[in-house]
């Protein structure tokens, strides 16, 4: 996949109002069926995760019936788990933290990564070299192992989990954003802004960032999908929320030994995570397809 060379004469003029590009991207993405399907799937799970905690029939940590009461019983629609807690209530209550943590980690990771990428592309020279070489070293380390190392030493703190997932995204985002920003930096309107003495930080925020908004949108979607998987995975490993709190990753871990007796306690959270990640990835794919040709034809 290489950057599409844009015929200068045929290329549209640089947008005078950069915001239009953003709305155009969304509109183009929504012309694809898969973007819609992805949106519906993601919103469905988000709805369950954020409204669920208010709809639980029982307390998610209370003993309601003997352990492994089968699904369809009066006390518990989806049965009870290994400790006799209501599976449905735990499922409804257990998604919110995962969503919040994944969104936070993505926002921090993509925000900081984009800042580093834009700064490296704009300043060039030794700053670029130092930032990108440091990133290369960070890339030579599996994201999950780094998170495991620090979470095991400092302890399963939620802020640390967010930080580690975000830090894992940072060098990857920075590399992509730098690539996209490089060709914007060379454009005339940046020169023009420099010549009238606009400060550098305002050029980066006001001139460069709006012109790489498609890249940023795609990158956010991609990293969000990975964040959900990583946060859920780390919580599955026992490094996120701690028992007895209801949490999808934790639920899967607690109940997987009883998969044959009470499969719902595993199936519900697994399906929810699967539907959500597939949904966000479909939206991202739609955005990426729509972004080809925008962003001054930079997107690879």
């Amino acid at each position: 996949m290489s950057a599409v060379p844009v015929d200068i004469a045929a290329a549209p003029a640089a947008p005078t109002v950069p915001v239009q590009g953003k709305i155009g991207l969304l509109r183009r993405a929504l012309q694809r069926k898969r973007t819609w399907i992805g949106l519906v799937l993601s919103l469905l799970v988000l709805l369950v995760a954020f409204l669920g905690p208010f709809l639980t029939p029982h307390s998610p940590t209370a003993f309601v019936a003997p352990p492994f009461t089968p699904a369809g019983s009066e006390a518990a629609a989806f049965g009870t788990d290994i400790l006799g807690r209501d599976v449905l209530s735990r499922f409804l209550a257990g998604g919110r933290t995962l969503m919040v943590l994944a969104l936070l980690a993505t926002a921090v990771g993509v925000g900081l990564g984009a800042a580093i990428g834009v700064i490296a592309a704009y300043l060039r020279g030794w700053a670029d070299e130092v930032l990108m070489r440091t990133g290369d070293v960070a890339l030579a380390f599996p994201q999950i192992v780094l998170a495991l190392l620090f979470l095991s030493i400092i302890g399963p703190k939620l802020w640390l989990l967010v930080l580690m997932v975000a830090l894992g995204h940072l060098p990857r985002v920075a590399r992509v954003v730098r690539g996209a920003a490089l060709s914007v930096v060379e454009r005339d309107f940046v020169r023009a802004a420099e010549s009238v003495g606009i400060p550098r930080w305002r050029i980066m925020l006001g001139e460069i960032v709006p012109n790489i908004s498609s890249t940023l949108a795609v990158e956010f979607g991609l990293r969000l999908t990975y964040s959900i998987g990583l946060v859920a995975g780390l919580s599955f490993l026992g490094l996120g929320l701690q028992p007895p709190t209801a949490d999808w990753g934790l639920m899967i871990n607690e109940n997987r030994i009883a998969l044959t007796v009470q499969p719902w306690a595993v199936i519900l959270p697994v399906i929810a995570i699967a539907v959500l990640t597939v949904g966000t990835n479909l939206v991202t794919d739609g955005l990426a397809k729509a972004a080809v040709g925008s962003d001054s034809g930079v997107r690879a």
């Binding site: 070293v137 380390f141 495991l148 990640t277 597939v278």
Partner: protein
């Protein structure tokens, strides 16, 4: 070419040095007193002092690091706090097990992905191509432990009862003695790396099929089969090699959760166990081993990419 390789090797070494420093900082310097963190609040001063000495916690930070690095280079990774055994002996067998698992996944995934990608490219815009596109998109989105559990539900506890859901082995038994136990963890890893290789293979193949030399061969009347196998495939595999190698490097990290899920006796499972026991020397050794593996596979990826690219191969 030789100079580029040397440069990559040097970069790998620097990376390992940085990794060792991070591991050292994280495990020994960051949380205040590692010895107290392990022994708890009620530890006697004598026991604290003894553990501090065992963990190389005496002296200034730089000298601690150099001591630690020195013993590391002599393959002395310390003594496990939980098992009271030398760490070096403990991680040997698990490294072998993980390698077997990753290798079996790689051996299955690579040719399979190349075939599917090529097929999809040849049948561009057909139902097969669209189905492949959707399936790879879905698989790429799913976290690997979700894929693993769905496979367990499908093949061992729910619909079919074909394969064991978790690894059950007796001590001393080698993992390859009972291949049925390897299938689910390996299959999970295969499904995790497959979509990326398929997608890049398809894209590269489409580019190659559109090239002048393929059209020339067709115009000459070369049979389509020969065109694809002799002319198109060799030229497409080169660019794909790097993605394959990167995916295999990813396996080194992805194996952690998958091993934990299937209780497979490899480095990943051991690492989670060591983390739960706060077994610092073992955690250090395992993280370093994983990093070493990662750097080596990445280096191989660079070598393959360089070797596959004629422009670089012939350049000085």
């Amino acid at each position: 070419m030789r100079r580029m390789l040397l440069k990559r090797c040097l970069f790998g070494l620097v990376t390992l040095l940085v990794v060792s420093f991070v591991v050292f900082l994280a495990t020994q310097a960051l949380p205040g007193d590692a010895a107290r963190a392990i022994l708890g609040r009620e530890a006697t001063p004598e026991r604290l002092a003894a553990l501090r000495e065992q963990l190389n916690l005496e002296g200034s930070l730089p000298s601690q690091y150099l001591n630690w690095l020195g013993s590391l280079l002599q393959f002395d990774l310390g003594t496990s706090l939980a098992a009271k055994q030398p760490v070096t002996g403990m991680i040997g067998p698990t490294l072998v097990n993980s390698s077997v698992l990753m290798l079996s996944a790689a051996v299955v995934a690579t040719p399979l992905a190349i075939v599917i990608g090529t097929w999809s490219a040849l049948k561009k815009d057909s139902a097969v191509d669209h189905a492949t596109g959707i399936v790879t998109l879905v698989l790429a989105a799913l976290p690997e432990f979700v894929v693993g559990i769905l496979l367990v539900l499908l093949l061992s506890t729910g619909l079919f009862h074909l394969l064991p859901a978790v690894y059950v082995g007796t001590p001393g038994q080698q993992v390859w003695n009972d291949p049925a136990q390897l299938v689910l963890p390996a299959l999970t890893l295969v499904l995790a790396v497959l979509p990326y290789i398929v997608r890049i293979m398809r894209a590269t193949m489409l580019e190659v099929l559109d090239s002048e030399y393929v059209q020339q061969a067709r115009l000459k009347g070369v049979p389509e089969r020969t065109v694809i196998i002799r002319h198109a495939l060799p030229n497409a595999v080169g660019p794909v090699a790097q993605v394959i190698a990167l995916q295999l490097a990813w396996l080194v990290g992805g194996v952690v959760i998958v091993e934990y899920l299937f209780r497979f006796p490899g480095v990943g499972f051991q690492l989670i166990d060591a983390v739960a026991n706060r077994d610092l020397p073992l955690v250090q050794a395992l993280v370093l081993a994983i990093a070493l593996f990662y750097v080596v596979v990445n280096l191989l990826a660079d070598v393959v990419t360089l070797a596959a690219n004629p422009k670089v191969r012939t350049a000085r």
